[in-house]
Symmetry: C2
Subunit: 573 residues, 2 copies
């Protein structure tokens, strides 16, 4: 047995409550190791020295190197003590505790040397937020989605809706091109989105700002005039809720615009400004030319906010509360969240939970985000690792079906179950090349990736226009005006896209557990609950593969007579 491959840690992604009384335990071992059985020996704290309950553990996930054993413990008294008992194929028995591996384990010392989850406090439990359970998200870049306010002053619009000329001309910077999308425009499309199968709408920033993307905010308490007035946001939220949908706003607390009212006060008053500590300034007054202040990246127009200041925390907690209290929004996506302090986010979550217990916070973290994903910080992060893993399978062919399944299982094992159920999974966004751009002209291939997105556990996010296979490279080409006149509407691939999204009407896709593996070079996802299950089988290759289906077909593409053709799939139960 390979002792060096074995991993466990209490109060982590290896040991986490599912609710007030259930505790999930994971143990990592070498894949294919000569292990006969793994048992979790446990009890509630005060009885552990007397007797131990035996919980058999089973392999739930495998990746390239490791097998992950799991079991779920139930106890009314939520004070857990446990050790592992491993029997190898040659009959050797070993205990694994905080002492490491031992041949014997003295249970009279359990208090010191067993693993423990001292107490399940519900306020700390990362669980699936019922308000958003299995939701389909739709990301909108408001300037580019739809015009709804036909009476507004259109002087700021400097490009036609359907332009592909989004930068360079007239000396304008990328962020200075405007085609006129607004909040009313989104409101007009809520029926469309409902029909598409969207539950939650996520808007990139709508705060007062001079750019089209509005990630450089001038005033955190104002809705940008280009997009509408407070009333328009109020109306939009009301209509979204009437549609049974939810709305998530994008907020940017890592940096503001140079023109932000707070920063301008510092520019004017230097250290005398009560906002001086909100930024990180070297000297008295910030100077655009000298760039004597911390910035987002190297961008002097985006001075970095100082999340090490208690006063700064107070201010942005108020911002967070304002849009909940006044507009009744349902969650926030937090821009460049990983560059602000944990201390701030913990305070932010705490104060927002007090006024809206179901609030969701989705961090922009591009990497392993476990350190942010406690109940007390973010509920979710944008799952970019899912994105690049899909690219490596569907586009780059760095991975075959076997290694694709290993990589996805690896990603699942980074986090607690509750985190996985709330990951914001995506294939593209305003920050990446559109996925179809990588697939074109192969729409079937693109559909396989979106089927993977919809089938995977968590929240699938569609970027506006994905459903009509909009093309576009990186910024600004991924931010073109929504092609409402596209010929794609109603074509079979668009209809199939919608059908794929509507798979989420099935409770198994929303809240089922997940297994990921490969079968004869085909990639397979299973979603299941107790006896019920649905199986998604994907052929991501140019070859046809025989595949016999035992069950009721729910959806398929190019599956004929027991053969999964190239770039085809079948969903059945």
């Amino acid at each position: 047995m390979d002792k060096l491959a074995v991993e466990h840690l209490n109060d982590s992604n290896y040991c986490f409550p599912l609710d007030e009384h259930h505790l999930k335990i994971r143990l990592r071992t070498k894949k294919g190791d000569d292990i006969k059985s793994v048992t979790c020996l446990w009890n509630v704290l005060q009885y552990m020295y007397l007797t131990q309950i035996k919980a058999p553990m089973e392999i739930a996930y495998v990746d390239e190197y490791y097998a992950y054993y799991e079991c779920v413990l139930y106890s009314k008294d939520p004070r857990f003590s446990y050790v592992f008992y491993i029997i190898t194929n040659d009959g050797t028995a070993l205990y694994f505790s905080e002492l490491g591996f031992t041949k014997e384990y003295d249970f009279s010392w359990f208090y010191l040397t067993s693993f423990r989850l001292p107490y399940i406090n519900p306020i700390d439990v990362v669980f699936d937020n019922k308000m958003f359970s299995g939701d389909v998200f739709y990301q909108i870049f408001p300037e580019r989605f739809n015009i709804g306010d036909f009476s507004k002053d259109k002087n700021y619009i400097n490009r036609p809706w359907d332009t592909s000329n989004l930068k360079g001309s007239n000396g304008n910077r990328v962020q200075d091109s405007f085609i006129g999308g607004d909040l009313k425009g989104i409101e007009l499309k809520l029926d469309y989105l409902k029909d598409l199968g969207v539950n939650t709408i996520y808007l990139t920033p709508i705060f007062k700002s001079q750019s089209n993307h509005k990630y450089d905010v001038d005033d955190y308490f104002k809705v940008d005039e280009m997009f509408g007035k407070d009333e328009d946001l109020l109306d939009l939220v009301k209509e979204i809720h009437k549609h049974g949908q939810k709305i998530v706003l994008d907020i940017v607390f890592n940096h503001s615009a140079f023109n932000n009212n707070l920063f301008q006060d510092v520019v004017k008053n230097g250290k005398k400004s009560k906002y001086y500590d909100f930024y990180i300034v070297n000297g008295d007054k910030p100077d655009f030319k000298k760039k004597n202040y911390a910035t987002f990246g190297d961008v002097p127009n985006m001075p970095k906010l100082n999340s090490n200041s208690f006063d700064e925390h107070d201010y942005f907690v108020e911002v967070g509360k304002y849009f909940i209290n006044k507009f009744n929004i349902d969650g926030y996506r937090l821009d460049v969240a990983n560059e602000a302090s944990h201390t701030f986010w913990q305070r932010f979550k705490y104060e927002l939970r007090k006024i809206k217990p179901d609030i969701i916070l989705i961090g922009e973290c591009w990497n392993n985000a476990i350190s942010y994903l406690s109940r007390n910080e973010f509920d979710s992060v944008m799952n970019y690792p899912f994105l690049y893993t899909c690219k490596d399978f569907y586009i780059n062919h760095f991975l075959d079906a076997e290694h694709f399944s290993y990589r996805l299982n690896s990603l699942l094992m980074r986090y607690k179950d509750g985190n996985n159920r709330m990951m914001l999974n995506l294939l593209d966004s305003h920050d990446t090349e559109r996925f179809y751009n990588l697939c074109k002209p192969n729409k079937d291939l693109c559909l396989l990736a979106f089927l993977t997105l919809i089938s995977y556990i968590g929240w699938p996010m569609i970027y506006y226009g994905d459903e009509i296979f909009m093309e576009g490279g990186t910024d600004p080409f991924n931010r073109k005006g929504m092609e409402w006149n596209s010929k794609e509407f109603g074509l079979k691939e668009n209809i199939l896209f919608k059908k794929i999204v509507h798979l989420r009407n099935n409770e198994l896709f929303k809240t089922g557990d997940i297994k990921i593996y490969n079968e004869n070079s085909l990639f397979v996802i299973e979603r299941y609950k107790k006896e019920e299950k649905v199986k998604i089988v994907i052929n991501n290759s140019e070859k046809s593969v025989k595949y016999a289906v035992n069950g009721m077909v729910i959806l398929s593409n190019n599956y004929d007579n027991g053969v999964l053709n190239n770039y085809s799939f079948i969903v059945f139960k």
Copy 2:
């Protein structure tokens, strides 16, 4: 190379800032693996795709199975991106990134697939608290330390000071025996403690309570009458500060007494009480006989507090602030801290930092406590794993010097450097058998353990009476009256104990880095800073061992003519 043994995680004990600009990186590999070199390839975020700085990594610690490579990165811009580059002895080169092991690594994808520490925010950095750096702590159980108030009403005292009859007689429970120690008594002994080498005094609870231990609190805002009045605590804190010492109070937010004013309000008013949510009651009113409420362990006299309630948080934050604002205390030890919610402790630390940035919080966590040891929760925990590891070496002989060093290195690798510098290391406490009780009559052996405690990185804690080799099994025998008339005072072992404590006057013992290993079956600790170092060599056996010393001897016991006799040590530089 054993890929399965390799471990790294961003923003964890494998990657943590030392200050605003220095980042410590660790990589775990198999010990003795065929690795030629490990290099950390890194840069600040915006330049990583262009070029990478090479930081060679060296093995800093080894335990039974693993070698831990470390390096420290410095950057003015605190946004770090990094991957590992490993060359094996046969010349094979591998990259290790968030993708796992790969033969090639595409740096144009660094944003997604490299490891990252997105930004060092000072407010999150776990660093050595300068106020307490390398402090020697002394734990006092006030009822049993010293009587100072000679004018008080002594009617409550029901045992002579020097009794060993601390339970059972007259139908009294263990906790109902009183010998009369008080706050004034401690004040009278501050010179004694200063002379012993104590920097920080930690008192078990002093809040109003009916027991001798006072862990069942009746009123959180009152000093217990047996110990004194508010004025006495004010005087004590002032005198402690005058002595250049600090004071840490023990607070109990996991549970209160049944007689606590808050709980009694619930007993009286049930759900109508504004404190109803402060507890976890099944039904309207708590009933002692039915025990229809959550408790600490199975003790009906200690109803568990509900750290899932925001109102409860507010109340106990006020308690925490009260003793800082009114009495100017320097820190808290948090009883049964691991059973209260992370959410509460984060809030608690946040609010206390605001009014006293240097405040220290020491959690009672008996196991791996990494999930509590961010800057935003506890600074420190009582290091019980250190205690039982020392027992396994000095008392049980389960470990030889080699495996003792491995186990201590393992413990160090659980945490960030800053955590290790603030661990409250101990050999005994009011909750365990006294260490000398396990060694008796071998004082030399006991001294070796205390030398280990003083030499180890972190805060060594002496339990009152350890310095005079007080005996005592578990509660109540570990809580006997301090033996001020002991014949041990001034004997050579007592003098040596003091000399060992005074090693902490040496800056290397306070703030030096640490190496732990064995040399010819001798256990060795090195404390060092750049060129300077001190070496502590311990012979924990019945045999004499030849050991030549090159250097200046600072302290030794039974070291003669190049021979370390049985149970002896030498400290030299």
